[in-house]
């Protein structure tokens, strides 16, 4: 290997008592795509922030392009640029301004004209050819905003591009676009790309080499071609993954439906849907963003005023507003964990009972014993460390935060549980625990679960039944054993084979 473009030695970083990195080394070769893998809390994001100069490590040194870099100060974006996990798009600025944000060649006065051609080219190259430079960023769908973020890194001509979960918010069709852009960058410009992803199929599809972190330490670096899925997972979690084979429970004859939708529609978002779901079934609604599948899920929780009839156990239920839906026995978990899903700055115990305050209080007074008891049960059910109950949710890793979000909704004891992206940004170990718990709820308590996901692996792993959507209409409704990845991708990317009004109804 020739001299690495980036080389870090002995990086250490602690946050309070938590050691996020305990002496990390990494070398990046020029023009490679390098995957960073590890469970939540393994130190990937900290590493990326240190490499970008956003966080100052306690110890260590860093060389980029053969030069020693001063740690803790932002690195020249022409050398290294980070595409963050959290979107850093300014909603009220134009697409052009968002791409130019933070560029160093702007000078004291920002004259847009001279950059238009360059930015146009970059946008075309990331598949945003149809987006106007002057469009406001907030008007774009989430996926396109993510692509703009990537375009920002490219526009600066960075020699090293760090992508922290660039695909977490994207659907599969869009992910393919982003990958094509990365391969193109590598081939044409020799850009070195580092990608963090929880989706292992992405790692295998895209990367040349993989580095695995565990508990803030370097575990291994290997050529992707020489790795197997099992080997990679083992390196990440430190032992073999025990996935109890999830046996899809088949539809049973003669069981009255738990949820029954008749002519359920939201004009402009999704066409009328008829759907019956039995107790204990886990159904995934699959479609790209904007396909209507996500909106349908939200509408069942009363987040959109929809038309039609919704019956729970045969009784018509109204879902005007989220509180009404909760009272009717419908619970909902948001896809936006940090902003809407949990109270990050409140204790785990408080979060877990936050939706059942009426049940752990008497005449307006909180009953401490009841709070503690309910929280303890929920923590046990969702594999949350009971010793951490008094701590804030923000001290937990993403996967454990998601368990809190689920526990808090499950506390309601709903008849229908709606999950929007149930394991976004959650590592494999926690995923398995979450799926196991959902399965247990479905089987033991007959809970019906509907979830929306853009993660194909998740859809295939966790559902009994898969309903696909394309451009606001239902394409197919089939049991899990009758579906495979190709069929789902075909449905959500191309819709039904022939224009068929019956299937879309």
């Amino acid at each position: 290997m020739s001299a690495p473009i980036l080389s870090a030695r002995g990086l250490k970083k602690s946050y309070g008592g938590v050691r996020a990195l305990r002496g990390m080394d990494i070398d990046l070769a020029e023009g490679e795509i390098h995957g960073l893998c590890g469970e939540n809390g393994a130190g990937k994001s900290t590493l990326v922030k240190i490499l970008g100069g956003l966080v100052e490590p306690d110890e260590g040194e860093l060389n980029i392009g053969g030069m020693r870099v001063e740690l803790g100060t932002p690195v020249d974006p022409a050398l290294l640029s980070i595409v963050h996990q959290e979107l850093s798009i300014i909603p009220h600025l134009s697409v052009l301004d968002n791409v130019m944000l933070g560029a160093r060649d702007v000078g004291r006065i920002y004259r847009r004209g001279q950059f238009r051609d360059h930015v146009r080219q970059v946008l075309d190259s990331v598949g945003l050819g149809h987006v106007s430079l002057d469009a406001q960023a907030e008007a774009l769908p989430l996926a396109e905003r993510q692509l703009i973020e990537i375009a920002r890194g490219i526009a600066r001509g960075a020699r090293v591009l760090l992508l922290d979960e660039p695909t977490a918010t994207l659907s599969d069709g869009e992910i393919e676009k982003v990958f094509a852009v990365m391969r193109h960058l590598k081939a044409e410009q020799g850009t070195t790309i580092v990608i963090i992803s929880h989706r292992l199929n992405e790692i295998f599809a895209l990367t040349d080499r993989v580095t695995v972190l565990r508990s803030g330490q370097h575990v291994m670096t290997a050529n992707t071609a020489e790795l197997t899925n099992a080997r990679l997972v083992e390196a990440m979690i430190g032992h073999e993954l025990q996935t109890g084979e999830i046996a899809p429970s088949h539809a049973r004859e003669g069981v009255a439906p738990r949820l029954s939708l008749c002519d359920w529609s939201l004009p402009g978002r999704f066409a009328p849907v008829d759907l019956d779901v039995q107790p204990g079934q886990i159904v995934s609604l699959v479609g790209q963003l904007g396909s209507g599948a996500d909106t349908l899920l939200e509408s069942l929780a009363g987040l959109h005023p929809s038309r039609g009839m919704l019956k729970l156990d045969g009784n018509a239920a109204t879902t005007r507003g989220i509180a009404v839906a909760y009272a009717a026995g419908i619970a909902y978990v948001s896809e936006d964990r940090a902003r809407r899903g949990v109270f990050l700055e409140a204790a785990i115990v408080t979060n877990l009972v936050s939706q059942i305050l009426d049940r752990v209080s008497r005449k307006g007074w909180m009953v401490t014993a009841a709070v503690r008891e309910r929280a303890r049960q929920l923590a046990q059910n969702f594999a949350i460390d009971p010793a951490r109950l008094p701590h804030d949710v923000s001290t937990l890793s993403g996967g454990n935060q998601q368990k809190v979000a689920l526990g808090k909704a499950a506390a309601l004891g709903p008849r229908l549980l709606l999950l929007n992206e149930p394991t976004r940004g959650v590592d494999i170990g926690a995923r398995a625990e979450i799926y196991a718990q959902l399965r247990r709820l479905a089987e033991a308590e007959g809970l019906t679960i509907l979830f929306y996901s853009t993660d194909l692996e998740e859809v295939l792993d966790a559902s009994d039944r898969i309903v696909t959507f394309y451009r606001g209409a239902m394409v197919r409704d089939a049991l899990r054993p009758q579906m495979d990845a190709d069929m789902i991708l075909h449905d959500i990317l191309h819709g039904p084979d022939t224009p068929n009004t019956e299937a879309a109804a």
Partner: protein
């Protein structure tokens, strides 16, 4: 490690956790400053000086407690406290012929109504909290001027127990009232469902809404409490001075904000306790009094108060950064 040391370290850890460290430091600083002043400043510990500290702490403190419910529930500040207090002082004097308690009740009712109206505008109509309360402040001041013809109203009866009475030398009834409100407020905020909902609303308004909490009701409630919290000091000052006029609540807004922030309530909502507001109030009252008895001019007192708030805000910002 034995169980005893374990529990001691965890109590210590809880007191100095990032979320609590400012409140704890202010509590300790207040006690230390008070003891040092008692030892070294002549006449500081006299009954008349202690009672003058408590008079100023009680009025500012009660307003700060009401305001804290707005801040903790995530709506920054209400900036109509001063004019509400002024109007309440006028109402108190006008009603003082009926006796102390009816007059107090009349001013309280005025504060509740103005608080309710602002709460509906902010909570129900979802208008900007700051602008709405500034506008309300102007409106209330205008109404008060109109009602009083811009004149100072004078009490016909003599001094009352609420104005100048003491439980014992150095402890005025006003301070007892303040203490009662602190205890009741602290218990309600920590132990009731509404208190939990109010605090959760403050930590994350979007998540609170999605969790199905009674968000609108909590916001309205917080403004009702703020209105009441502003009216009571208006009545107390009127009872003490025997006058009601528009100057009564002159620096009440900033003093209340200062007391609350210095005590360790987070501007962004969700963090902070009612007792923190009380300790912030006492800290500033003792500090101001020390300056006063050492003959520092009013402008120095103003600067020190401003500096204290700046330091509190900077401490909050630093703690928030450290957590990241």
């Amino acid at each position: 490690m034995s169980a005893a040391t374990l529990s001691r370290t965890s109590v210590f850890g809880a007191l100095f956790a990032p979320a609590r460290v400012q409140a704890t430091v202010i509590q300790i600083a207040t006690v230390v400053m008070f003891l040092v002043a008692c030892a070294f400043i002549e006449n500081f510990a006299s009954a008349s000086n202690i009672s003058s500290i408590l008079y100023s702490a009680s009025t500012v403190g009660i307003a700060a407690l009401g305001l804290a419910s707005v801040t903790i529930s995530g709506n920054l500040f209400a900036l109509s406290l001063g004019s509400t207090a002024a109007f309440a002082s006028i109402v108190y004097i006008a009603a003082s012929g009926w006796g102390v308690l009816p007059a107090l009740a009349a001013s309280l009712a005025l504060g509740l109504v103005f608080g309710l109206l602002q709460g509906l505008v902010v909570g129900w109509l979802r208008c900007n909290a700051i602008i709405s309360t500034i506008a309300a402040g102007s409106l209330i001041a205008g109404l008060a001027t109109w009602v009083s013809d811009g004149r100072t109203v004078l009490a016909e009866s003599g001094p009352s127990w609420l104005g100048s009475g003491t439980l014992m030398p150095g402890v005025p009834w006003q301070a007892v009232l303040f203490l009662l409100i602190v205890i009741v407020g602290e218990v309600l905020m920590q132990r009731t469902r509404a208190g939990w909902e109010l605090r959760l609303r403050g930590t994350n308004p979007d998540a609170a809404e999605l969790a199905g909490l009674r968000v609108t009701r909590m916001v309205v409630l917080s403004y009702v409490l703020a209105g009441a919290g502003a009216a009571i000091p208006g009545a107390l000052i009127a009872a003490q001075s025997g006058t009601g006029n528009l100057r009564v609540g002159a620096d009440l807004d900033f003093s209340a904000i200062a007391a609350m922030l210095v005590g360790g309530v987070a501007i962004g909502g969700g963090r902070g306790r009612i007792i923190d507001v009380a300790s912030g109030t006492l800290f500033l009252a003792v500090l101001t009094n020390i300056l006063l008895v050492n003959n520092f001019a009013y402008e120095v007192q103003l600067m020190v108060k401003g500096l204290a708030v700046l330091l509190a805000v900077m401490a909050g910002a630093l703690l928030a950064r450290k957590k990241r």
